[in-house]
Symmetry: C2
Subunit: 178 residues, 2 copies
Protein backbone atom coordinates (compact mmCIF):
# COMPACT_ATOMS: atom_id res chain seq x y z
CA UNK A 1 0.00 0.00 0.00
CA UNK A 2 1.09 3.56 -0.58
CA UNK A 3 0.66 6.31 1.99
CA UNK A 4 1.28 10.00 1.30
CA UNK A 5 2.02 12.17 4.33
CA UNK A 6 1.96 15.94 4.42
CA UNK A 7 4.79 17.74 6.17
CA UNK A 8 3.79 21.07 7.81
CA UNK A 9 1.56 20.55 10.89
CA UNK A 10 1.57 16.78 10.35
CA UNK A 11 5.15 15.65 10.89
CA UNK A 12 6.73 19.11 11.37
CA UNK A 13 5.39 21.53 13.96
CA UNK A 14 5.08 24.59 11.73
CA UNK A 15 2.72 26.50 14.07
CA UNK A 16 5.05 26.18 17.03
CA UNK A 17 8.04 27.39 15.01
CA UNK A 18 6.00 30.19 13.46
CA UNK A 19 4.82 31.54 16.81
CA UNK A 20 8.28 31.09 18.42
CA UNK A 21 9.90 33.00 15.53
CA UNK A 22 7.27 35.75 15.65
CA UNK A 23 7.79 36.24 19.40
CA UNK A 24 11.56 36.29 19.06
CA UNK A 25 11.78 38.69 16.10
CA UNK A 26 9.11 41.11 17.27
CA UNK A 27 9.87 40.87 20.98
CA UNK A 28 6.48 39.53 22.00
CA UNK A 29 5.19 36.78 24.26
CA UNK A 30 2.06 35.69 22.47
CA UNK A 31 0.76 32.22 23.35
CA UNK A 32 -1.14 29.82 21.08
CA UNK A 33 -4.09 30.19 23.49
CA UNK A 34 -4.19 33.93 22.71
CA UNK A 35 -3.92 33.23 18.99
CA UNK A 36 -6.72 30.68 19.11
CA UNK A 37 -7.45 28.46 16.13
CA UNK A 38 -5.14 29.71 13.43
CA UNK A 39 -1.80 31.36 12.85
CA UNK A 40 -0.34 34.28 14.76
CA UNK A 41 -0.56 36.52 11.68
CA UNK A 42 -4.33 36.15 11.70
CA UNK A 43 -4.30 37.90 15.07
CA UNK A 44 -1.56 40.31 14.00
CA UNK A 45 -2.24 40.87 10.29
CA UNK A 46 0.12 43.87 10.25
CA UNK A 47 3.01 41.34 10.45
CA UNK A 48 1.72 39.10 7.65
CA UNK A 49 4.00 40.45 4.90
CA UNK A 50 7.08 40.23 7.11
CA UNK A 51 6.25 36.69 8.19
CA UNK A 52 5.80 35.59 4.56
CA UNK A 53 9.41 36.67 3.93
CA UNK A 54 10.62 35.03 7.12
CA UNK A 55 8.93 31.70 6.41
CA UNK A 56 10.39 31.64 2.89
CA UNK A 57 13.89 30.89 4.11
CA UNK A 58 15.68 27.56 4.21
CA UNK A 59 16.74 28.20 7.81
CA UNK A 60 13.16 28.62 8.99
CA UNK A 61 12.66 24.84 8.70
CA UNK A 62 15.93 23.60 10.12
CA UNK A 63 15.00 23.48 13.82
CA UNK A 64 11.31 22.77 13.41
CA UNK A 65 10.12 20.22 15.98
CA UNK A 66 9.12 16.74 14.91
CA UNK A 67 5.51 15.92 15.80
CA UNK A 68 5.31 13.55 18.78
CA UNK A 69 5.30 9.84 17.85
CA UNK A 70 5.42 10.60 14.12
CA UNK A 71 8.87 9.15 13.61
CA UNK A 72 8.14 5.90 15.42
CA UNK A 73 4.73 5.36 13.78
CA UNK A 74 5.95 6.20 10.27
CA UNK A 75 8.93 3.91 10.72
CA UNK A 76 6.49 1.15 11.63
CA UNK A 77 4.25 1.92 8.64
CA UNK A 78 7.31 2.01 6.35
CA UNK A 79 8.09 -1.63 7.15
CA UNK A 80 4.92 -2.72 5.35
CA UNK A 81 4.03 0.18 3.06
CA UNK A 82 5.50 2.72 0.68
CA UNK A 83 5.69 6.12 2.35
CA UNK A 84 5.78 9.39 0.39
CA UNK A 85 6.25 12.81 1.93
CA UNK A 86 4.12 15.19 -0.09
CA UNK A 87 4.51 18.85 0.67
CA UNK A 88 3.46 22.10 -0.94
CA UNK A 89 6.62 24.15 -1.13
CA UNK A 90 5.74 26.12 -4.23
CA UNK A 91 4.55 29.16 -2.27
CA UNK A 92 7.72 29.18 -0.21
CA UNK A 93 10.14 28.04 -2.89
CA UNK A 94 13.25 28.99 -0.89
CA UNK A 95 12.12 26.64 1.84
CA UNK A 96 12.65 23.54 -0.32
CA UNK A 97 16.27 23.04 0.72
CA UNK A 98 15.43 23.53 4.37
CA UNK A 99 12.68 20.95 4.03
CA UNK A 100 14.95 18.44 2.27
CA UNK A 101 17.60 18.83 5.00
CA UNK A 102 14.99 18.52 7.74
CA UNK A 103 13.55 15.32 6.22
CA UNK A 104 16.98 13.74 5.69
CA UNK A 105 17.95 14.47 9.24
CA UNK A 106 14.68 13.53 11.01
CA UNK A 107 13.30 10.78 8.76
CA UNK A 108 16.45 9.17 7.36
CA UNK A 109 14.63 5.90 6.66
CA UNK A 110 12.45 7.53 3.98
CA UNK A 111 14.09 7.38 0.55
CA UNK A 112 14.74 10.86 -0.84
CA UNK A 113 13.13 9.66 -4.06
CA UNK A 114 9.88 9.57 -2.10
CA UNK A 115 9.86 13.31 -1.38
CA UNK A 116 7.30 15.14 -3.52
CA UNK A 117 7.11 18.93 -3.76
CA UNK A 118 3.91 20.06 -5.40
CA UNK A 119 1.28 22.75 -5.24
CA UNK A 120 -1.80 20.72 -6.11
CA UNK A 121 -2.31 17.36 -4.39
CA UNK A 122 -4.86 16.17 -6.95
CA UNK A 123 -1.73 14.90 -8.76
CA UNK A 124 -0.99 12.37 -6.00
CA UNK A 125 -1.60 8.71 -6.78
CA UNK A 126 -1.54 6.88 -3.42
CA UNK A 127 -4.06 4.93 -1.34
CA UNK A 128 -3.95 7.32 1.62
CA UNK A 129 -3.17 10.97 2.28
CA UNK A 130 -2.66 12.22 5.84
CA UNK A 131 -3.00 16.00 5.73
CA UNK A 132 -4.17 18.93 7.87
CA UNK A 133 -5.57 20.83 4.90
CA UNK A 134 -9.15 20.37 3.80
CA UNK A 135 -8.29 21.88 0.44
CA UNK A 136 -5.74 19.11 -0.15
CA UNK A 137 -8.00 16.31 1.03
CA UNK A 138 -10.87 17.52 -1.15
CA UNK A 139 -8.91 17.18 -4.41
CA UNK A 140 -7.17 13.93 -3.44
CA UNK A 141 -8.45 10.81 -5.24
CA UNK A 142 -7.69 8.25 -2.48
CA UNK A 143 -8.69 7.99 1.18
CA UNK A 144 -7.95 11.10 3.23
CA UNK A 145 -7.24 11.36 6.96
CA UNK A 146 -7.59 14.84 8.46
CA UNK A 147 -4.72 15.52 10.85
CA UNK A 148 -5.79 17.97 13.54
CA UNK A 149 -4.16 21.40 13.56
CA UNK A 150 -5.21 24.66 15.21
CA UNK A 151 -6.63 26.01 11.97
CA UNK A 152 -8.96 23.00 11.42
CA UNK A 153 -10.12 22.34 15.01
CA UNK A 154 -13.23 24.44 14.98
CA UNK A 155 -15.24 22.60 12.41
CA UNK A 156 -16.67 19.17 11.82
CA UNK A 157 -15.62 17.74 8.52
CA UNK A 158 -16.56 14.69 6.53
CA UNK A 159 -13.12 13.13 6.95
CA UNK A 160 -11.83 10.75 9.56
CA UNK A 161 -10.03 12.98 12.03
CA UNK A 162 -6.76 11.91 13.65
CA UNK A 163 -5.65 14.14 16.52
CA UNK A 164 -2.10 12.85 16.79
CA UNK A 165 0.19 10.06 15.62
CA UNK A 166 -1.05 7.63 18.28
CA UNK A 167 -4.46 7.90 16.64
CA UNK A 168 -2.91 7.35 13.20
CA UNK A 169 -1.24 4.23 14.59
CA UNK A 170 -4.52 3.01 16.11
CA UNK A 171 -6.35 3.63 12.82
CA UNK A 172 -3.98 1.47 10.79
CA UNK A 173 -3.76 -1.16 13.53
CA UNK A 174 -7.53 -1.48 13.58
CA UNK A 175 -7.51 -2.04 9.81
CA UNK A 176 -4.85 -4.71 10.25
CA UNK A 177 -2.45 -2.68 8.13
CA UNK A 178 0.39 -2.62 10.66
Amino acid sequence: MRIAIDMDEVIADFSEKDLRTFNKLFNKEVTQEEVGNGYVTQKYPEYEDAMVFIRNNADFFRDMKVMPDSKRVIERLAKKHEIFIVTAAMHFSNSIHGKIDWLKSNFPFIDQKHYVFCGDKSIINTDYLIDDSLENLRVFSGKGLLFSAYHNLDKDYDYIRVNNWLEVEAYFEEKGLI
Copy 2:
Protein backbone atom coordinates in the same frame (compact mmCIF):
# COMPACT_ATOMS: atom_id res chain seq x y z
CA MET B 1 -7.88 15.69 -19.11
CA ARG B 2 -4.61 15.90 -17.24
CA ILE B 3 -1.22 15.72 -18.93
CA ALA B 4 2.09 15.43 -17.06
CA ILE B 5 5.17 16.58 -18.95
CA ASP B 6 8.74 15.85 -17.99
CA MET B 7 11.28 18.68 -18.14
CA ASP B 8 14.84 17.58 -19.02
CA GLU B 9 15.17 16.44 -22.67
CA VAL B 10 11.43 16.99 -23.23
CA ILE B 11 10.86 20.73 -22.88
CA ALA B 12 14.40 21.71 -21.82
CA ASP B 13 17.41 20.72 -23.92
CA PHE B 14 19.53 19.26 -21.13
CA SER B 15 21.89 17.33 -23.46
CA GLU B 16 22.75 20.41 -25.50
CA LYS B 17 23.51 22.46 -22.37
CA ASP B 18 25.45 19.59 -20.82
CA LEU B 19 27.71 19.15 -23.85
CA ARG B 20 28.11 22.93 -24.31
CA THR B 21 29.12 23.31 -20.65
CA PHE B 22 31.51 20.36 -20.81
CA ASN B 23 33.25 21.80 -23.90
CA LYS B 24 33.52 25.26 -22.37
CA LEU B 25 34.83 24.21 -18.96
CA PHE B 26 37.25 21.55 -20.19
CA ASN B 27 38.30 23.34 -23.35
CA LYS B 28 37.08 20.68 -25.75
CA GLU B 29 35.11 20.60 -28.98
CA VAL B 30 33.23 17.34 -28.67
CA THR B 31 30.13 17.01 -30.85
CA GLN B 32 26.98 15.02 -30.11
CA GLU B 33 27.85 12.83 -33.12
CA GLU B 34 31.09 11.85 -31.39
CA VAL B 35 29.25 11.20 -28.14
CA GLY B 36 26.64 9.04 -29.86
CA ASN B 37 23.51 7.95 -28.03
CA GLY B 38 24.03 9.16 -24.49
CA TYR B 39 25.69 11.85 -22.43
CA VAL B 40 29.18 13.22 -22.87
CA THR B 41 30.27 11.74 -19.54
CA GLN B 42 29.60 8.23 -20.85
CA LYS B 43 32.34 8.88 -23.41
CA TYR B 44 34.52 10.74 -20.88
CA PRO B 45 33.78 8.97 -17.57
CA GLU B 46 36.79 10.64 -15.93
CA TYR B 47 34.73 13.88 -15.91
CA GLU B 48 31.58 12.30 -14.43
CA ASP B 49 32.15 13.45 -10.83
CA ALA B 50 32.93 17.01 -11.89
CA MET B 51 29.87 17.16 -14.15
CA VAL B 52 27.62 15.94 -11.33
CA PHE B 53 28.75 18.97 -9.30
CA ILE B 54 28.34 21.29 -12.25
CA ARG B 55 24.82 20.11 -13.09
CA ASN B 56 23.77 20.51 -9.44
CA ASN B 57 23.74 24.28 -9.64
CA ALA B 58 20.80 26.60 -10.08
CA ASP B 59 22.66 28.49 -12.81
CA PHE B 60 23.13 25.37 -14.92
CA PHE B 61 19.45 25.51 -15.87
CA ARG B 62 19.02 29.21 -16.46
CA ASP B 63 20.03 29.38 -20.12
CA MET B 64 18.91 25.92 -21.16
CA LYS B 65 17.24 25.98 -24.58
CA VAL B 66 13.52 25.40 -24.92
CA MET B 67 12.73 22.40 -27.12
CA PRO B 68 11.45 23.47 -30.56
CA ASP B 69 7.66 23.88 -30.76
CA SER B 70 7.16 22.80 -27.12
CA LYS B 71 5.93 26.19 -25.97
CA ARG B 72 3.40 26.60 -28.77
CA VAL B 73 2.07 23.02 -28.54
CA ILE B 74 1.82 23.04 -24.74
CA GLU B 75 0.07 26.41 -24.83
CA ARG B 76 -2.44 24.84 -27.22
CA LEU B 77 -2.89 21.77 -25.01
CA ALA B 78 -3.27 23.99 -21.93
CA LYS B 79 -6.37 25.61 -23.44
CA LYS B 80 -8.27 22.32 -23.14
CA HIS B 81 -6.36 20.32 -20.53
CA GLU B 82 -4.61 20.57 -17.19
CA ILE B 83 -0.85 20.59 -17.68
CA PHE B 84 1.59 19.52 -14.95
CA ILE B 85 5.36 19.77 -15.23
CA VAL B 86 6.76 16.75 -13.42
CA THR B 87 10.49 16.67 -12.95
CA ALA B 88 12.94 14.64 -10.92
CA ALA B 89 15.09 17.19 -9.16
CA MET B 90 15.86 15.16 -6.05
CA HIS B 91 19.25 14.01 -7.35
CA PHE B 92 20.20 17.57 -8.19
CA SER B 93 18.48 19.32 -5.33
CA ASN B 94 20.28 22.62 -5.86
CA SER B 95 18.85 22.74 -9.34
CA ILE B 96 15.28 23.20 -8.11
CA HIS B 97 15.46 27.00 -8.01
CA GLY B 98 17.05 27.14 -11.45
CA LYS B 99 14.27 24.93 -12.75
CA ILE B 100 11.54 27.02 -11.14
CA ASP B 101 13.00 30.21 -12.63
CA TRP B 102 13.37 28.58 -16.04
CA LEU B 103 9.75 27.39 -16.03
CA LYS B 104 8.38 30.76 -14.89
CA SER B 105 10.31 32.54 -17.58
CA ASN B 106 9.73 30.13 -20.49
CA PHE B 107 6.28 28.70 -19.70
CA PRO B 108 4.58 31.57 -17.86
CA PHE B 109 1.10 30.27 -18.76
CA ILE B 110 1.59 27.16 -16.57
CA ASP B 111 0.47 27.76 -12.98
CA GLN B 112 3.36 27.34 -10.53
CA LYS B 113 1.04 25.14 -8.49
CA HIS B 114 1.31 22.65 -11.33
CA TYR B 115 5.06 22.14 -10.93
CA VAL B 116 5.87 18.80 -9.32
CA PHE B 117 9.34 17.84 -8.10
CA CYS B 118 9.60 14.17 -7.33
CA GLY B 119 11.96 11.23 -7.57
CA ASP B 120 9.49 8.48 -8.35
CA LYS B 121 6.85 9.09 -11.01
CA SER B 122 4.67 6.21 -9.86
CA ILE B 123 3.16 8.87 -7.59
CA ILE B 124 1.73 10.81 -10.54
CA ASN B 125 -2.01 10.68 -11.07
CA THR B 126 -2.63 12.01 -14.59
CA ASP B 127 -4.00 10.60 -17.83
CA TYR B 128 -0.78 11.08 -19.80
CA LEU B 129 2.93 11.34 -19.11
CA ILE B 130 5.30 12.58 -21.81
CA ASP B 131 8.81 11.54 -20.74
CA ASP B 132 12.15 10.49 -22.23
CA SER B 133 12.85 7.99 -19.46
CA LEU B 134 11.75 4.38 -19.77
CA GLU B 135 12.14 3.99 -16.01
CA ASN B 136 9.58 6.74 -15.45
CA LEU B 137 7.13 5.45 -18.04
CA ARG B 138 7.28 1.90 -16.65
CA VAL B 139 6.09 2.92 -13.17
CA PHE B 140 3.50 5.44 -14.41
CA SER B 141 -0.11 4.30 -14.07
CA GLY B 142 -1.58 6.24 -17.03
CA LYS B 143 -0.72 6.39 -20.74
CA GLY B 144 2.94 7.07 -21.47
CA LEU B 145 4.46 8.72 -24.54
CA LEU B 146 8.20 8.18 -25.02
CA PHE B 147 9.87 11.42 -26.07
CA SER B 148 12.97 10.73 -28.14
CA ALA B 149 16.33 11.65 -26.67
CA TYR B 150 19.86 10.52 -27.57
CA HIS B 151 19.93 8.03 -24.73
CA ASN B 152 16.75 6.23 -25.82
CA LEU B 153 17.19 6.27 -29.63
CA ASP B 154 18.88 2.93 -30.02
CA LYS B 155 16.12 0.66 -28.86
CA ASP B 156 12.59 -0.21 -29.76
CA TYR B 157 10.25 0.10 -26.84
CA ASP B 158 6.66 -0.76 -26.19
CA TYR B 159 5.61 2.87 -25.92
CA ILE B 160 4.34 5.26 -28.54
CA ARG B 161 7.40 7.22 -29.55
CA VAL B 162 7.20 10.95 -30.26
CA ASN B 163 10.32 12.39 -31.87
CA ASN B 164 9.52 16.06 -31.34
CA TRP B 165 6.70 18.39 -30.34
CA LEU B 166 5.16 18.42 -33.83
CA GLU B 167 4.59 14.69 -33.37
CA VAL B 168 3.09 15.29 -29.92
CA GLU B 169 0.75 17.83 -31.51
CA ALA B 170 -0.18 15.39 -34.30
CA TYR B 171 -0.83 12.63 -31.74
CA PHE B 172 -3.32 14.70 -29.74
CA GLU B 173 -4.88 16.14 -32.90
CA GLU B 174 -5.50 12.67 -34.24
CA LYS B 175 -7.24 11.73 -31.00
CA GLY B 176 -9.39 14.85 -31.29
CA LEU B 177 -7.98 16.15 -28.02
CA ILE B 178 -6.84 19.52 -29.38
